[in-house]
């Protein structure tokens, strides 16, 4: 599958994307190309591009021509970008942010100097699409995909996309963002790209003004959008959630606000590719998913950790020679789960567990409890450590609009936690804050 070819059947006058003042049609996209200096073999190209439109021109032009395309965030610090460029053995870096002539041993080609007429793909070999993981640990990992593996679960029928407008609130260089971008493009829909640095209000206004119909975000992102008065103007018919644990409350709030919208949450990891979708309006997923092949994946729980196996996809880490699959081909997702009756619930990242005097506390579970309180709009739970006395659970909360004042809220929240959580799990230090930081991937910044 080659991107340029896959888009060739989409009616040319349809809009592929709207970004700032740029409106690009599919016909225009077909004419866009990227020139690269000649190399003896198919080149490996890193992209460091600020605008989604620039990246899409590059991707359409390079898929089927390049040996590999490495998608790097333009906001990544140059030294870290250089390390990834080196690790991925890139020949060129196409960039609109790097002033230096070389990055990680690869010459930097300035965008838009390289923009030129479209070139025909000269090989039918699959171009590798290489991306980095969110990197909750120190070193982000590079993961190798192909266009086929990235679009396995996308609905690719161009007829579906007529009239569909996908809002992009994710970073396009991340897995979730790229999923939205490719889904939109390949189904002939219009991608709406609000300005990256803009406030929640401004981004919502842009999406509403352009008639956004489909929108995806992490639960944290949705919670922060709900706090904006501009949220009123949104009229979506398909809502997607993913990237963090989806709780019953956010599902209820969104369904209440958009009664006729379809809501689904996606469980996925960059390593495993798209995992599976849940559309039954409840948190977690049906226990039955563990007993059968569901949406092309198999799931098992080992030591409370969810393992996933997707048939047929070849995904491997680049550069470190690490195997990420066990002997049976299952990938350990690093997510802890609990099976209760007919449902499997997510408890949180195994790596994020807080040890409070021997009791293992999941920050995500405590956040879920805090979010049950109607006075709490957003919550972040973390550990406060003291070298002698050990860790205690701490929480920052953002007050919901129109609620009680801070003093009463804190007391009320503490009482709520006392009624719902065992002692070691209760947040002992609770602060009301103005806002809680969310990463470029839309997840709570856990530092």
């Amino acid at each position: 599958m080659i991107l340029g070819k896959a888009l060739s059947t989409i009616p040319g006058e349809r809009r592929a994307w709207i970004e700032g003042s740029e409106v690009m049609t599919f016909a225009g996209l077909r004419e866009a190309g990227v020139r690269l200096p000649a190399t003896p073999r198919a080149p490996r190209v890193a992209l460091r591009l600020t605008r989604v439109g620039s990246a899409l021109r590059a991707l359409c032009s390079l898929d089927g021509r390049a040996n590999a395309i490495v998608l790097l965030s333009p906001t990544l610090e140059p030294s870290r970008a250089a390390a990834l460029v080196k690790r991925a053995r890139c020949d060129w870096v196409l960039s609109d942010v790097d002033a230096a002539p070389v990055l990680g041993d690869a010459p930097v080609l300035r965008w838009p100097d390289q923009v030129g007429p479209a070139a025909q793909p000269d090989s039918t070999a699959q171009t590798q699409w290489i991306m980095s993981t969110s990197g909750t640990t120190a070193e982000p990992k590079l993961v190798r995909h192909t266009l086929a593996s990235l679009t396995r679960s996308a609905k690719l029928d161009p007829a579906r996309g007529d009239g569909v407008r996908w809002g992009l609130l994710y970073d396009y260089t991340r897995f979730a963002g790229l999923q939205v971008v490719l889904q939109s493009l390949l189904s002939g829909a219009t991608l709406l790209v609000p300005a990256r640095g803009a406030s929640s209000h401004a981004r919502l206004e842009m999406l509403a003004a352009h008639g956004c119909t489909h929108l995806g975000g992490t639960p944290s992102l949705w919670r922060s959008l709900l706090m904006s008065p501009s949220f009123e103007h949104l009229r979506v018919r398909q809502i997607t959630l993913g990237g963090e644990i989806v709780d019953d409350r956010i599902l209820a709030v969104l369904q209440d606000r958009f009664p006729s919208a379809g809501i689904r949450h996606i469980y996925a990891s960059t390593e495993a590719g798209v995992g599976f979708t849940v559309q039954d309006g409840r948190a977690g997923f049906p226990r039955a998913f563990l007993d059968r092949c569901e949406q092309g994946v198999e799931l098992k729980v080992v030591d409370h950790r969810l393992h996933i196996r997707k048939v047929g996809e070849h995904v491997s880490y680049v550069g470190r020679g690490e195997r990420i699959r066990d002997e049976d081909g299952f990938v350990d997702t690093g997510d802890l789960v609990e099976v209760l009756d007919d449902r499997v619930y997510f408890k949180g990242r195994a790596a994020g567990v807080i040890n409070v005097g021997g009791d293992k506390v999941h920050p995500e579970v405590v956040e879920g409890v805090l979010l049950e309180h109607t006075g709490v709009a957003m919550a972040r739970v973390y550990s406060r450590a003291n070298p002698i006395t050990g860790s205690v659970v701490a929480a920052d909360i953002v007050a919901a609009a129109g609620g009680e004042d801070s003093g009463n809220l804190l007391e009320s929240v503490r009482n709520h936690c006392r009624s719902r959580l065992a002692r070691a799990h209760q947040p002992m230090i609770v602060r009301v804050v103005e806002r809680i930081a969310v990463t470029g991937a839309g997840k709570l910044a856990r530092g």
Partner: protein, 83 residues
Amino acid sequence: MIREKITEMFGSIFREFKEDLEPPPLTDDTPLLGMGLDSLDFAVLVIRLQDELDYDPFTLSEGAYYPTTFGEFVSFYEQFAPT
């Protein structure tokens, strides 16, 4: 000053977590163990004192020192108070 803040913090921990207990009178000789506060209560006490006073003697001191009485606890904080 520090003694007062520590006394107040002990009081607030008792009120919040040990409402059924009668807090003992806090004199220099009052033993810390046996007050009715457990390790989690002390962890919270120390962390909240750090937020309140902006320093933590347990982090600043080099040895692993454990005060055993209320008086020793207060002296420990007074000793490491920033000048």
